[in-house]
Chain length 151, copies 2
DNA sequence: GTAATTTCTAAACCTAACTTGAGCTCAAGC
DNA sequence: GCTTGAGCTCAAGTTAGGTTTAGAAATTAC
């Protein structure tokens, strides 16, 4: 049931599909700030449903909880996102996603090149040099798949 | 240096760029099977460099260590992948990657639709229903961003 | 023949995002 | 007034993929 003033954690869980424990965890991470009733139980704003929905969607786009907290706290008065906020924030989502897709597409291209060129005999492998592990220690090209320049 | 018969773990680490601790961890996960010398130290085959390279590349494509172990153990005699094996395995990599890209592109399309249609006032949100969390409990559509059918 | 480096094992620790459990209190129904 | 269910806190467990630490033994370098 929906209490007339202040939502219980169980109701919020039911409405969002999140586990009660997850909501408590999000509070501990600073994503929500419920108040307490006389008995010490958490009471939430109706807008917190929207806030939690935003959290869930942002997670799908690959943001971490600290990043999501940043996004939420960047809103005036730490408010729950409005439609206008959403339009602006979703721009960032778009960029984040585009970057991830681009990374994977580059990996796919490298894979195609690697199949074609017979990577196993190459002294340096595009598959390894491409992507996030690259330029980790500035140690020059890595010799993969058992080959080395002197072999 | 490269010992003339049997590679030390440190040499393997140097050649692959992996940490010594990581190589030991991979052994514990069943990805490698070094033998021991008289003093009890691990000694590796030269082909294990190639084997580790395969592991690193497969990880970039999003496979877990148990999955990679499966792939390696599917090879006749649990051998290190040859060029022919590589051509076959890379097909699986390609499919894996294509699927991941497709998921993200669907998410991007849903996002674009959501910005345009004013998701905040929709009773059900494509952004939430799309993707991996969907169909988790068969509980029907989730009502996101604070809206419900009776509101 | 030392000294320095590497390697060994086992267990503990790490991050992220939660879940689970124990033991207790609060609220609601009859 | 009793029972049941929901909620509370705090600590520990979970998964993945490792890293760190400690103390001892092996190996290499000079």
């Amino acid at each position: 049931m929906a209490p007339s003033h202040g939502l219980s954690i169980g109701y919020l869980a039911e409405r969002t599909g999140l586990a009660v424990s997850a909501i408590r965890y999000y509070e501990a991470q600073g994503l929500l700030e419920p108040w307490r009733n006389a008995g010490g139980q958490r009471r939430f704003h109706r807008a917190d449903i929207r806030r939690l929905s935003f959290v869930m969607i942002a997670q799908k786009f690959g943001f971490t909880l600290p990043e999501i907290r940043e996004q939420l706290s960047s809103l005036p008065g730490n408010r729950t996102p409005t439609k206008a906020d959403w339009a602006r924030l979703s721009e960032g989502f778009r960029r984040h996603l585009d970057a991830r897709i681009a990374t994977l597409e580059k990996l796919r291209d490298d894979l195609d090149g690697c199949i074609g060129c017979g990577c196993l005999s190459l002294p340096s492998c595009a598959l390894y040099n491409a992507g996030d592990r690259a330029a980790k220690k500035g140690q020059g090209p890595r010799y993969l798949m058992g080959d080395s320049p002197d072999t």
